[in-house]
């Protein structure tokens, strides 16, 4: 524990700015993963424990596509679509068989896929760390805001994830498809009685969750090292985020993700060995105060 370092950081603007942007990008990436997780839980009532593996797949897809095409834009979009397609197949072939079953059965299927995908990645891409590197378009001198260093790529990340968040919020609130999805979350049999293909809705929601996780993986690839098993920690973190925010709530996911991002970023200065512990402390405190998370609805 290094309280002195934390205090001296908080008292200097430059350090606060640096840590703040660092925390923001962690939070925004986490939001993309957690939003998909929350959406899948909200509609399918499935706790998708392998969501972190989708994120990992996204990062590796982006890595390969970038190396082949040399275009970061294509890499990120390809990662999103590729993982979305994988999510759709996974939902149709495996997950749909355990709907309505014990939550443990779903957990088991997910656990199996965590193990399988980690090894598949090891076989295809090798067990060692990989780095995508910063795309040339972003290899610019960083902005200096009040003495704090803000890399250009960070600003791009924050902007693009914010855009996705707003788009997602708009789509679920205003569009017809969004309304169907929200209705399916509340009363799937009614939606099905209205002649809407719920199978399609379920597959679509899982695919969308996959796209979000894949995009997050692709966007994170330039600033994170790629390694099999990298999905492990992010899935735990995004679960903390969704549980803090209230499972199924998009606004909750955003708030939770930003909280965890900031805790991680500032915590790494004050409590380098206990950063993870801080996240769990935060989650414990919030759940004790609000047993269904900050934005969670009380179920009947």
């Amino acid at each position: 524990m290094d309280h002195q370092a934390l205090l001296s950081c908080i008292s200097t603007t430059s350090c606060v700015i640096t840590q703040l942007t660092g925390g923001l990008i962690i939070g925004m990436l986490l939001f993309l993963v957690a939003a998909g997780l929350s959406l899948i839980f909200g509609v399918l009532k499935v706790v998708n424990f392998m969501h972190g593996s989708l994120y990992m797949l996204g990062a590796y897809f982006a890595y390969t596509i970038y190396n082949v095409t040399g275009s970061y834009t294509v890499a990120v979009i390809g990662a999103g679509l590729g993982v979305g397609l994988f999510g759709l197949v996974f939902e149709r072939v495996f997950m749909s068989r355990v709907y309505g079953e014990d939550v443990l059965m779903q957990l088991l299927v997910c656990y199996a896929f965590i193990l399988i995908l980690d090894d598949v990645v090891k076989i295809v891409w090798g067990p060692e760390f990989k780095a995508l590197g910063m795309p040339p378009a972003f290899a610019l001198p960083p902005f200096v805001v009040a003495g704090g260093i803000v890399p250009v790529f960070y600003l791009f990340l924050i902007a693009i994830t914010l855009l996705i968040a707003i788009g997602l919020g708009f789509a679920t609130a205003k569009t017809r498809i969004g309304k169907i999805v929200r209705a399916a979350a509340v009363n799937p049999s009614m939606v099905s009685a209205l002649g809407i293909n719920t199978t399609l809705v379920y597959g679509g929601v899982f695919a969308l969750g996959g796209i979000l996780a894949g995009l997050a993986g692709g966007l994170a690839a330039p600033v994170r090292s790629l390694v099999p098993g990298m999905g492990f920690s992010i899935v735990i973190e995004s679960f903390i985020v969704t549980v803090i925010g209230g499972m199924g709530s998009m606004a909750g996911a955003l708030v939770g993700a930003l909280m965890i991002g900031l805790v991680r970023s500032f915590g790494s200065i004050g409590f380098p060995l206990f950063t993870e512990g801080l996240m769990f402390l935060l989650m414990t405190a919030i759940l004790i105060a609000k047993p269904r998370g900050l934005f969670g609805k009380e179920e009947r």
């Binding site: 443990l104 088991l108 193990l115 399988i116 980690d118 076989i123 903390i240 060995l273 206990f274 414990t284």
Partner: protein, 324 residues
């Protein structure tokens, strides 16, 4: 429960212990006795978790808290305080029970997935403390230097044969107590809570008190599992409190059969055997294990022992129902 069945159960427990005691004399291999000791640790851990998951419907993701806590508190007491083994064992049970009481009181207020994740949070909190508190716990290296094992009551756990018998006894005695518990009125109350907590509360039973009680019991035996593990490896590692260990225990329960008392024991046998064989034949352990788990999850829904007991139950029912 009749007196006769208690006598029968005690007889069976003694028979099991005798068989376990004779095993190393029939097959004198270190690998076998090591396997049984490891099995004791995991079987205790998974069976105690099943009290929560299978019998009470409390899906805890954080039962590894007690495995890690048991291992560390026992190992630390032996290493730093130089207590005797019985005293360290007794204190570890007290520590496990105390922590379970506090953590349980907080967690059981929450429902479903929130309960699961709050238990997980407490477990990962312990993991973080172990990692961060290096001067005491050795951080991510685990406790180094081994655990002293002073003899007590003529038992010398430094000797492999004594250690083996000690762990077998802990396993059989603990399983006997838990078996007794799930057959008691308390055990039936737990099953009622699992099936319909509202109805149980209408009967005038304090549901939270029952849940808390079983959480404490499960915590104690999870801790005993940790003690066995720390005796076996003569140390304690942060992995014992990592979330994957809880995942393994859940998997053992599901594999063996969630509705069967001995399911987790059976699942522990399968998983440990799989562990040993798969790692021997391939480096792609996760791939092979994952496919096997998938086959279990999609094929054998009730777990192996569950499927077997179901088969016999149906046969018995068919025989009873058939006109003679």
């Amino acid at each position: 429960m009749s007196k006769g069945s208690t006598a029968r159960d005690i007889g069976l427990a003694i028979a099991a212990l005798v068989i376990l005691a004779l095993l190393p004399h029939i097959f004198p291999s270190k690998a076998l006795s090591d396997f049984v000791i490891r099995l004791s640790a995991f079987a205790l851990f998974a069976t105690s978790l099943n009290l929560l998951v299978g019998y009470t419907g409390l899906v805890s993701f954080g039962h590894g808290l007690f495995f890690g806590l048991g291992a560390y508190s026992f190992a630390l007491m032996m290493q730093k305080l130089g207590t005797s083994i019985p005293a360290a064992f007794g204190l570890t049970i007290l520590v496990s029970a105390g922590v379970a009481l506090v953590v349980g009181a907080i967690c059981i207020r929450l429902k479903e997935i929130y309960f699961s994740f709050l238990t997980l949070a407490f477990q990962m909190l312990l993991h973080s403390i172990i990692i961060a508190w290096t001067p005491v716990t050795g951080g991510d290296q685990g406790l180094t230097g081994g655990i002293p094992r002073p003899p007590f009551l003529g038992i010398d756990l430094a000797q492999p044969s004594h250690l083996y018998l000690f762990c077998c006894t802990l396993l059989v005695v603990s399983l006997y107590i838990m078996w007794h518990l799930v057959r008691s009125p308390f055990g039936y109350t737990l099953r009622m809570i699992r099936d319909n907590p509202h109805r149980v509360s209408f009967l005038g039973i304090k549901v939270w008190r029952m849940r808390l009680a079983v959480f404490v019991v499960a915590g104690i035996f999870g801790g005993v599992g940790g003690v066995v593990m720390s005796l076996f490896v003569s140390s304690a590692y942060p992995d014992f409190a990592y979330w994957t260990i809880s995942g393994e225990a859940v998997f053992m329960i599901m594999m063996g059969g969630i509705g069967v008392f001995f399911g987790p024991l059976f699942g522990a046998v399968i998983l440990l055997l799989l562990n040993d064989f798969v790692t021997k034949i391939t480096e792609h352990y996760g791939l092979v294990l994952g496919i096997i788990i998938l086959a279990f999850a999609l094929g054998l829904r009730k777990g192996l022992l569950g499927v077997i007991t179901e088969y016999f139950r149906e046969r018995r029912a068919a025989r009873a129902g058939a006109p003679s």
